[in-house]
């Protein structure tokens, strides 16, 4: 459990708006261990999502380093970073980001296709949809589902490629409290069942308290990290 999965050192990200430089991250240091379910909490605009996108290789930092399971996310070339992202990292977004022209089944299938893992994909998809409790809606289009159901499809899509790390950006941001509970419970089940490392961005303190560890973020810095009270108990 104490093996490092994510290591972030001195991460800085500045956005340029005309001549004005806006710092989003100001030297973030962070470590997440293998199999850990961690949360980054903080107010809107504190840099949580920027941190997540950099961890996922979708955004380049101004300074600093990111190592994921020994892979240098910043120094690597585009092609190998894309390859690493494809094989190891799953994303779940606040706005679900499903492809609305494809049905639920095909949304998962495209993930298999991108990974190049088409052997036995039908069974795998059926199993995964069953796992997230959405198997009876496999032929429906995303917009025909409730928001909670859409998020479960998004999670299934992220998990179908069996990533070692799941990065979730406000996954419950668009959901009511009941659905939010279900999603976090689902994350917990995946984390325990499949041993996946999960880093969840949230501004909901109560949900963050359901994880193994929380990082408090403010103004582009990690202020503190610790084990939530419930976990300690």
């Amino acid at each position: 459990m104490n093996e490092k999965m994510i290591t972030v050192e001195g991460l800085t990200k500045e956005y340029k708006t005309g001549n004005v430089i806006v710092p989003a991250l100001r030297g973030v240091d962070l470590q997440v261990h293998r199999g850990e379910f961690a949360a980054v909490v903080g107010a809107s605009g504190c840099g949580k999502s920027t941190l997540l996108y950099i961890l996922g290789g979708m955004l380049r930092p101004t300074k600093g380093s990111v190592w994921i399971d020994g892979f240098d996310m910043i120094g690597a070339r585009d092609a190998s970073r894309t390859q690493f992202l494809k094989q190891n990292i799953g994303f779940v977004f606040q706005r679900f980001n499903l492809i609305n022209s494809l049905n639920v089944f095909d949304n998962l299938k495209i993930s298999c296709k991108i990974l190049g893992a088409m052997n036995g994909y039908r069974e795998k998809i059926d199993e995964m949809l069953c796992h997230v409790g959405i198997d009876h809606k496999a032929r429906m289009k995303p917009l025909e589902l409730s928001q909670g159901e859409q998020q479960r499809v998004a999670i299934a899509r992220a998990l179908i490629k069996e990533p070692r790390i799941l990065l979730a950006d406000e996954p419950t941001g668009n959901l009511d409290s009941e659905n939010s509970e279900r999603i976090v419970e689902l994350f917990r089940t995946m984390n325990r069942g499949l041993g996946q490392t999960i880093l969840m961005i949230t501004h909901n303190r109560m949900l963050a308290d359901r994880t193994d560890r929380t990082f408090e973020m403010k103004d582009g810095r990690i202020l503190s990290s610790g084990t939530p009270p419930r976990q300690t108990a």
Binding site: M58, T82, K86, L98, I99, N100, S101, I114
Partner: protein, 364 residues
């Protein structure tokens, strides 16, 4: 379902417009080229079907016999007949007339000499030409104009009695006696050309050279490759064909470019999603190009259907119009449509590939 297919089905109106535009480009290409080639080849084929080995014309004359009339003296027939290995010669005077608003070529012939070169008119109904005031028309003109044996028609300001209907495909559509046409046109002892039959096809080139040496101011045109030479002799035809071809390519290119550019803008977020799933640039590129290829294939296939329907419709409206759709031009149309589509999709695809995934994911 494949992402490209799903996107085509998701945006039905856009896909339909795209397919329709490519379809119109292909139809325009095939019908226009088909009309030009059909008309040229049909005329050329009719000349070749006369059965002669060559035609003797005034030097510098075009292959469009209808564009000139009596320019050669009739007496040249003797010099041509004296040429070794010449079996038969048939003088012909050509003219053009309009009947029922349609343009026709008329041959003034001597029936005996015309059949001696192999150009025997196969009379299906009625009889051969015998006297002045008589004409023979071919079956296609008879069908198109509703003319029958025994009818009287006005040509060149005179009334003619239709005495026979010949099988279509030989020389012109209207035949009358050479002497009568010469008299009507006040071109006595003048002809437009001489059809020549050799004793054996092996002497054709030799005979042609011999005639050109014996008779000053004429040229001999062998009829074996007449269609090709007729096409090449037409000034501006190749440029016209090239213009239609390029227009088709440009239409296909612009339509797909516009459609795919709009699509990429609409699907910015989707491209961000694919990238967040780890899709490579090649994967994104392939999907966009596949979508545009499917659209253009749809356009090309619909274009063929519309071409066939248009051909059928035009043939009914204008029975004398020949539209020739060859496999060569079908292949050219397919290539142009698909190439235009792929080229048109390439730039939007490159924009998609270069999109910043984070901006794309947050695109509204």
């Amino acid at each position: 379902m494949n992402l490209a297919v799903a996107n085509i089905l998701q945006h039905k109106i856009r896909s339909l417009i795209c397919i329709l535009a490519v379809c119109l480009g292909i139809t325009m290409l095939l019908i226009l080229v088909g009309m030009v080639n059909g008309s040229i080849n049909e005329v050329a084929q009719r000349i070749q079907n006369v059965g002669a080995d060559m035609v003797v014309q005034q030097e510098g004359a075009t292959n469009f016999f209808a564009l000139k009339s009596g320019v050669l003296p009739m007496k040249l027939i003797k010099d041509i007949q004296k040429t070794p290995n010449v079996q038969a010669v048939s003088p012909v005077l050509t003219w053009t007339v309009t009947f029922q608003n349609q343009f026709y070529v008329v041959y003034g012939i001597d029936p005996g000499q015309f059949s001696s070169i192999g150009g025997e008119l196969k009379i299906g109904q009625g009889r051969h030409l015998q006297n002045a005031g008589e004409i023979v028309i071919d079956s296609r003109m008879a069908g198109a104009t509703g003319t029958a044996v025994g009818d009287t028609i006005d040509l060149l300001g005179s009334k003619f009695s239709v005495v026979g209907i010949s099988k279509e495909g030989i020389g012109a559509r209207i035949f009358l006696l050479l002497t009568e046409l010469q008299s009507m046109l006040q071109q006595e002892n003048k002809v437009s050309m001489f059809f020549v039959k050799c004793t054996s096809p092996q002497y054709m080139k030799e005979v042609a050279l011999d005639i050109e040496q014996r008779v000053k101011g004429v040229k001999c045109q062998l009829l074996e490759n007449f269609a090709d030479e007729m096409t090449h002799s037409m000034i501006g035809l190749n440029e016209f064909m090239a213009a239609i071809t390029v227009t088709t390519l440009v239409i296909s290119f612009l339509v797909i470019l516009l459609a795919m550019y709009t699509t990429i803008m609409e699907r910015t977020r989707e491209i961000g999603i694919l990238k967040s799933l780890g899709a490579s640039k090649v994967f994104v590129l392939k999907n966009i190009l596949l979508e545009s290829t499917l659209l253009t294939i749809g356009g090309v296939l619909t274009g063929y259907l519309l071409t066939l329907s248009s051909k059928y419709y035009l043939s009914h409206i204008y029975p004398l119009l020949t539209i020739e759709i060859t496999s060569y031009w079908i292949l050219v149309g397919t290539f142009l449509g698909i190439a235009g589509g792929i080229l048109g999709a390439f730039y939007p695809a490159l924009i998609a590939v270069r999109q910043d995934p984070v901006k794309a994911l947050n695109y509204e």
